[in-house]
Symmetry: C2
Subunit: 278 residues, 2 copies
């Protein structure tokens, strides 16, 4: 599918893409680009890349696909660094969890000879780092691709096929629509999980059963990454929190006024929605 | 440990107790008491009980341990029905998710010749019914036992041993302290999960990844049971929701004012607490 794929940032997501590309033979060579010797050594040891370098320019120059998979706060910098070093007609994609900011920036700075496509695989673990990378990480997960009027159609089709080959279910949304929906299905659950752990005392938490544990599993995620995501998608996240608070007030009012039937009805509808996704 | 154990209500919890008692040979005979023919038939088919009956009086009369494991709204009625039919020195326990209401009621109506002990195994599934019963359901889970000044010490010791034999970690709390802690570690997560599903549209929920799914798994639980629990433990639950709302407001203020360091610190503390329970 590609001759050379360069992956900038070989952590959990970058490493899992590398493993899947190699397993499915989607490229002749996968080049990993890291910031620290230890991280590229781990990427090589894990078998996530064929070759690794600390030199971004050297790493991307022959690649026909460049994947920017760094932490949230470095995505735009790395796109900017990679673009002038990439060869003509190379495709650059990112995998960042917010899209409007990244895609607008990339569209603005991208040289004409390079095609940029914003993508976001909704996959992850509460662990990070290439040592947890898994070629099956994207199996049957959703990958949202966010084209704009600047997006090259051929490159877009190729990137849709690429994610489908990694076994993801591709959905196309505008960057704005993406940010709204992930605020609700991903960023909001994360902030609620963190908040639930916040208010439980270290003594009480010892009584927790499987319900509490599942509800708060994602509070084990990397706080640095999530603080950045919350701030990057601030306005959509705040709107989701407002919706959550408003709805919680309704539930509270049913409890205060002992309205079993209304409470029951609301819980049953919620259960039905949850069951629709298995 | 016991000659005959009678289980009133052979659903998920009652059935799992029956299976575990039989596997660990804690009684010579387990008698299941149900309200519907189909449920006692399933309990027998599952092997959760040795014998089953629809007749409560007949089922409990020779038992030296009577376990009331019916749905929340019937616990007190069944304790009241069982007590006069039980033989002298029989022990009655319940497994209800709220304790102050049940234990106060039981202490009040219990004949002197019968010992009552309130217990609450913090175990469960989002499925209900005896067909999902599992002899390992209580392995390494917490079981809270809630004695009062009326509780017979010998019976209490026996019931502590009983739950320990079912592989639960027993904690002793007053009924009031129990209701406060479960409001926080169990009832609050449930209402938050239901509420999160409430505000997501049927279209958006299709984008959900593993984070959303874990956070809302318990919204698949039985709404009837949970509406009753929420109402029974109303004041403690409302206080927990207030704490949650107050803490969420702080997180929101950090996001609004772009306070990365403060946000990060709060998320990191939450993560640390969550990791303390695995």
């Amino acid at each position: 599918m590609f001759k050379k794929i360069a992956i900038i940032g070989v952590g959990l997501i970058g490493g899992s893409i590398g493993l899947a590309v190699k397993e499915k033979k989607l490229a002749k060579e996968v080049i990993g680009i890291g910031r620290r010797r230890s991280s590229i050594r781990n990427a090589l040891k894990k078998g996530a890349v064929d070759r690794a370098t600390l030199d971004l320019r050297e790493g991307v120059k022959e690649a026909d696909l460049i994947i920017v998979a760094t932490s949230v706060d470095k995505v735009m910098t790395k796109i900017k660094e990679a673009a002038p070093c990439a060869k003509a007609k190379a495709i650059i994609i990112d995998v960042n969890g917010t899209k409007k900011n990244v895609v607008e920036y990339a569209d603005k700075i991208m040289p004409k000879r390079i095609c940029f496509v914003g993508t976001h695989p909704l996959a992850g673990l509460d662990q990070s780092g290439v040592l947890f990378a898994d070629s099956r990480l994207f199996d049957n997960t959703v990958c949202i691709i966010t084209p704009t009027r600047h997006t090259n159609k051929t490159a877009l089709r190729k990137i849709i096929r690429f994610w489908e080959r990694l076994s993801a279910r591709v959905k196309i949304l505008s960057p704005q629509a993406h940010d709204i929906v992930v605020a609700r299905v991903s960023h909001l659950p994360h902030i609620l999980s963190y908040n639930l752990c916040s208010i439980i005392s270290s003594k009480d938490i010892k009584m927790a059963g499987s319900g509490f544990k599942d509800t708060t599993r994602i509070a084990k995620s990397n706080p640095d990454m999530w603080a950045d995501i919350f701030l990057q998608n601030r306005s959509n996240l705040l709107r989701s929190i407002d919706d959550f608070e408003r709805s919680l007030k309704v539930l509270k009012s049913y409890i205060i006024r002992n309205k079993k039937e209304q409470l029951l009805k609301r819980l049953a509808i919620a259960k039905g929605k949850r069951e629709s996704i298995g």
